[in-house]
């Protein structure tokens, strides 16, 4: 620990010096008596105080948490040389705050082991490192201080909270593996599809006896197969509007996390593409491991400025499998993001666009010129939306004020009533 002198030490010594000089000048012994405590206490503090010796370790209650959850951070101290007052400060990164109690805490550090518990709240999703501890010890009169910083950081992953979604978007085409989607193809399944005349090789259990009795020959039931689907979440990370914790990127990540978990729960293969200053992708896969892979990739997502001009050609072919449902989450703020999506549509992908509306995050126009500019911006956004709709891409606008389920239902309605157009 490094020793420092507090200003109080100088003031005490200065008071003592002034009183002693005054005593000499005025020949008053009482002033020496006044000076005595102010001279003696600093002298004893400097001569007798010894630097404390403290070693620190940090333990988290768990290394993963959901946005808004609380967790305990335990700071364990091993005190070899005691201190009368020891301030223990747990440095918290932006996005994590103290939920309960005090930080810093002042304790009496007696020799031995001591554990302090800080209850923190995960305010915002992200990957954090928690556990930088600042220690400050003082002598009983706070005339000297010793400081030490212990870097015992441990990783903490805070996942975005999930939105409530009941029905997911159904892909137009399904894949060959069994899943929860009723396929257009007729095969073994549960959902009734049609009747057809019996052909040799058909199972007897599939014979529809009522229809056969009416028509005088054997008819069998046909069923739709239950298949899984490939879903690719396409995140436009070129630009965002808002402040950390309440921005278009936060909303997009929350939606992506929710949709990933829900699609994987119904046995679909889910892939992930972040298209922005950096281009990242995860090949579609299924299972809990894929969920963690995607969520970890989400946590690394940031808006990064990059002048390298890349388009979706650089994506590996397997990251965008044919017949996959591409669910794009974009604030439509950057033309490159919009162009990439239209490019995907042009290649025949089943594309759905959930537009994360930046309007609630836009600053309020305070002048007539700003108001006009904002109106032009809105018109341009509407024109862009129109381009997508003309290309046969359903667009749902989602913001903080409405649920994601409502936006998805809007897309479902569009897809029910619009024919899939091929550009």
């Amino acid at each position: 620990m490094t020793r420092f002198f507090e200003p109080k030490l100088f003031r005490y010594t200065a008071l003592a010096a002034v009183a002693l000089l005054a005593a000499l000048a005025t020949r008053l012994p009482e002033l020496v008596v006044l000076a005595a405590p102010f001279a003696l206490v600093p002298a004893l503090a400097v001569l007798l105080s010894r630097a404390p010796s403290v070693s620190v370790s940090v333990q988290l209650e768990r290394d993963r948490a959901l946005e808004g959850e609380d967790l305990d951070v335990t700071v364990m101290l091993r005190i070899d040389r005691p201190a009368d007052r020891l301030d223990v400060l747990l440095e918290l990164p932006a996005g994590v705050s103290l939920a309960d109690g005090h930080d810093p805490l002042t304790i009496r550090a007696a020799r031995g082991r001591r554990s302090l518990v800080f209850r923190v709240r995960c305010d915002r999703w992200g990957a954090y490192k928690l556990g930088r501890i600042r220690l400050r010890a003082r002598d009983p009169f706070a005339l000297l201080r010793w400081e030490q910083t212990a870097d015992c950081r441990v990783p903490l992953k805070v996942y975005p909270s999930e939105e409530a979604v009941r029905d997911l978007l159904r892909p137009i085409e399904t894949q060959v593996y069994s899943g929860n989607h009723v396929s257009r193809q007729k095969s073994e399944g549960i959902e009734f599809a049609d009747l057809r005349p019996f052909v040799p090789g058909d199972r007897v259990r599939r014979v529809n006896w009522r229809a056969s009795a009416r028509r005088g020959e054997l008819w069998v039931n046909e069923h739709h197969a239950e298949r899984n689907a490939d879903v690719v979440l396409f995140l436009d990370s070129f630009a965002e509007i808002g402040v950390p914790g309440a921005s278009t990127l936060d909303l997009a990540l929350r939606a992506a996390g929710t949709l990933t978990a829900r699609y994987l729960r119904q046995k679909d293969r889910v892939g992930f593409v972040t298209f922005g200053g950096t281009l990242n992708w995860l090949l579609p896969a299924t299972g809990a491991v894929q969920l963690y892979r995607i969520v970890d990739a989400l946590l690394d997502t940031q808006i990064r400025l990059n002048y390298v001009w890349r388009d979706i050609d650089v994506l590996p072919r397997r990251s965008l499998p044919p017949q996959a449902l591409v669910l794009a989450l974009s604030p439509l703020l950057h033309p490159r993001g919009a162009d990439a999506l239209l490019d995907l549509r042009g290649r025949g992908f089943d594309l759905v666009l959930v537009e994360i509306s930046p309007l609630p995050f836009a600053p309020i126009a305070k002048s007539a010129a700003a108001e006009t500019a904002q109106r032009i911006w809105r018109l341009r956004r509407e024109a862009l939306r129109g381009r997508f709709e003309r290309a046969g891409v359903p667009v749902a606008v989602w913001d903080n004020e409405r649920s994601l389920a409502a936006a998805l239902e809007e897309v479902s309605a569009f897809r029910r009533h619009a024919r899939l157009s091929r550009v």
């Binding site: 490094t2 020793r3 420092f4 002198f5 200003p7 109080k8 030490l9 100088f10 003031r11 005490y12 010594t13 200065a14 008071l15 003592a16 010096a17 002034v18 009183a19 002693l20 000089l21 005054a22 005593a23 000499l24 005025t26 020949r27 008053l28 012994p29 009482e30 002033l31 020496v32 008596v33 006044l34 005595a36 405590p37 102010f38 001279a39 003696l40 206490v41 009368d84 007052r85 301030d87 223990v88 400060l89 109690g101 005090h102 930080d103 810093p104 805490l105 002042t106 304790i107 009496r108 009983p140 009169f141 706070a142």
Partner: protein
Amino acid sequence: MLAACAVAFLALGALRSAPAFVACGVLLFGAEYATFLRSRSEVDRWAPLVAAALFLVVELGYRAVERDGGQPEGAVRRRDVATVLAAALASVGLGGLLLAAAGGADAGLGLEAVGAVSAVLVIGTVVGLVARSRDQAQLEP
């Protein structure tokens, strides 16, 4: 007048959380006490108690305006109270001893020389501490 200024300084220190004002207030109290002592011909036997009271005022004033500390736990508070009271009591005892020594010894050139050397030593200590503090301040990030 000096006492009124001292009270004003102490109040200002408490309101603005400025420890320097507390020290100035106590200095003014000391000046007022010195003025009072000049009007007397005999040694004030209550001087140790006045010293203890001034020390208590400074110590409590500092602790009241201290801003950069954390939330102390109960044991720390109890120990603080005990430490301050013990220091005040010790200052009463030390003051009594000093007064007795001053009353018993004949005032002369030798005693004055010892006093002057003590004062110079204390001032030297202050200067030394300030110099070392500047060195440390350069080391601090």
